[in-house]
């Protein structure tokens, strides 16, 4: 029998439901791994050991009573710390929310717990999910568990690192411009951004409301499929939620890609795009060849306006953020820095509570929405989204799925890109178009780069195209070259210089 920290969520749940293993024993094994390595990885802002033990015991009690605790029975899950958990601190890795305990659970948290999952902790992120490296956290950077000198990606770097390190087989993150897919690629795990509206955003602390989506991290494609079936589907508390039940994804995983038409996005993967590394391009073309060998037809195609994605995103996302983050004023929750007048109190609180990247984006957004600039920036960017959606629609007349790299390079050294925000933003060039269009996409690990660190391939689908997307992901998973040896829970394996 393999150790719980090396197996899949599906197998763990099956064992717990059948009584072969107790949820408590599964949890304790994961807590040991967290205890042994999270000091150096810093995936968690908060480990909920006592609460998790109580939940695991409750799951075991239900099994003992002959009840079925659900499809995630006893599976430890880590939650990005921008997902509200009732009575449990939810910080967004910001000083401005330090000490805040939400009076309600996010819908995704309710649904995970109802399915038997055990919440083990809240994971680190770039403050308010603004960043691509999890270095912009008020509580310190998260390190890539495969090489501690490298970033885990971001903004959901804590969740990606938790799964890669074997702290939990599942985690949830949020993805506004690539914040699930890019860290998944850099840590060698699966990460999914669902169709906009497929998963309820109720209880997700808002960054850019028209782009934000919650999605899973896991070590296998099937585990992410399972999580989406649990957390997806209509929620009346999110007005942007799609009025349909979550699609059945696990049943399509073995259908293969015979007859599917798959297009490689030229603008995001060709030699023409500056910054896409040679090893990343090589893995992408091997992935395309694997899909072709499995019966798909593969061709290169053009989605011209993807080249404007980055520019449009860095207007739209900060604009929405500047509006969403206006609520942090020291009145109703979180930090207050006292001052003689309310106006001074707002400014003192926000100045002390927000980090530099958040301030940068609030100011950028305020500028883009201000009188005289609205049409030039925000208005124009919203039109680029239409252009992009039209280009995608044309591509999807010819193709069922599209393919691109997830991130331009493997994980980069901690500190390398913090001085120049624009260099950091370029990390998201391949992932942003799906958010702007509201489409689903996911990153699947596909071998390693010249430095031995993981590389991810991105599968893109049209809105509500998750079932087809998961079919291709399953084929890629089955045909992928060996990944990083440490992913899958080994805590003693070779993991690069600093961890030795």
């Amino acid at each position: 029998m393999s150790s719980p920290v090396e197996t899949t969520a599906q197998n763990l749940a099956a064992d717990v439901r059948s009584g072969a293993r107790s949820a408590r024993a599964v949890l304790e094994e994961h807590l040991v791994v967290i205890e042994s390595r999270d000091d150096e990885v810093h995936a968690f802002n908060l480990v909920l050991a006592d609460e998790a033990r109580a939940s695991a015991d409750a799951v075991d009690a239900r099994v003992a009573n002959g009840e079925d605790p659900g499809p995630l029975a006893g599976v430890p899950v880590a939650l990005k710390d921008n997902l509200c958990t009732r009575g449990v601190p939810t910080t967004c890795s910001s000083r401005i929310l330090e000490g805040w305990r939400p009076p309600y659970d996010a819908t995704v948290v309710e649904r995970l717990v109802a399915a038997g999952a055990v919440v083990v902790g809240k994971t680190n992120l770039d403050e308010f999910a603004m960043g691509s490296s999890t270095e912009n956290s008020a509580f310190g950077a998260t390190h890539n568990p495969l090489d501690l000198t490298k970033v885990p990606g971001g903004s959901s770097g804590g969740s990606a690192a938790a799964v890669a390190a074997g702290f939990a087989p599942l985690a949830l993150g949020s993805d506004t411009g690539g914040s699930i897919r890019q860290p998944a690629a850099l840590c060698g795990v699966v990460g999914v951004k669902p169709t906009y509206g497929a998963v309820s955003r109720y209880g997700l602390v808002a960054f850019a409301s028209s782009l934000d989506q919650i999605g899973p991290f896991s070590r296998t494609v099937a585990d992410s499929a399972l999580v989406l079936e649990v957390i997806g589907g209509h929620d009346r508390r999110d007005s942007t939620s799609i009025h349909e039940p979550a699609p059945d994804l696990r049943s399509v995983l073995d259908r293969g890609v015979e007859g599917l038409r798959i297009g490689i996005i030229e603008e995001l993967s060709g030699d023409g795009l500056e910054g896409i590394a040679g090893d990343v391009r090589a893995r992408l073309h091997e992935a395309a060849a694997a899909l072709e060998a499995a019966g798909a037809t593969v061709a290169t195609t053009s989605v011209p306006s993807t080249v404007y994605g980055l520019s449009a995103y860095y207007v739209v996302a900060p604009a929405e953020a500047s509006s969403n983050l206006a609520r942090y004023d020291g009145v109703r929750f979180g930090l207050r820095v006292d001052a003689p007048t309310s106006g001074d109190m707002h400014a003192a609180t926000r100045t002390a509570g927000f980090g530099d990247e958040v301030k940068r984006r609030i100011m950028l957004g305020t500028y883009a929405l201000s009188a005289g600039y609205y049409d030039a920036y925000y208005g124009k960017s919203q039109k680029v989204r239409t252009l992009l959606a039209d280009d995608f629609a044309r591509a999807y007349e010819e193709f069922d799925l599209l393919l691109s790299p997830t991130a331009p390079t493997t994980a980069f050294p901690i500190g390398e890109k913090t001085a120049d925000p624009m260099t950091m933003y370029l990390n998201d060039v391949c992932t942003i178009p799906s958010n702007l269009a509201g489409h689903p996409s996911m990153s699947v690990p596909f071998g390693v780069g010249d430095d031995g660190m993981p590389i991810g391939v991105q599968v893109l689908a049209p809105a509500t195209g998750e079932p087809t997307m998961f079919r291709a992901a399953a084929v890629l998973e089955a045909s992928a070259p060996p990944g990083h040896p440490a992913v899958g829970g080994s805590v003693t394996g070779p993991t690069g210089g600093a961890t030795a």
Binding site: R101, Y308, R350, R360, M363, Y377, L387
Partner: protein, 100 residues
């Protein structure tokens, strides 16, 4: 081409956003915001006069829910999140002028 963002623009925007910046911060942020806006300048070349802005990624229509009484948040729980409360209300410093 839109003019490059100036120090006084950034100071104005910081004021609108209720953020206080030191001189050094103002200098650094001005350069960084200008870099991002320069990147966004590639949008200016696009002819988008006939393109409709995307308001929402999916063609959802607004609907009204039935107006029925249901559970809401507990007032004391919500007030317990606040830094300062008095008589079941949020307490703030004076809005006009200073406290006597």
């Amino acid at each position: 081409m839109t003019e490059r963002i100036s120090r006084s623009d950034v100071a104005h925007v910081a004021n609108l956003a209720h953020l206080s910046l030191t001189d050094d911060e103002l200098e650094a942020f001005t350069g960084q915001l200008a870099d991002v806006l320069d990147h966004a300048a590639d949008l200016e070349a696009l002819d988008l006069d006939d393109v409709e802005p995307m308001i929402h990624p999916l063609p959802l229509r607004n609907v009204l829910r039935p107006d029925v009484v249901g559970a809401t948040s507990d007032r004391s729980e919500v007030l317990a999140c606040a830094p300062s409360v008095e008589d079941e209300q949020f307490r703030v410093p004076p809005v006009l002028g200073e406290a006597p």
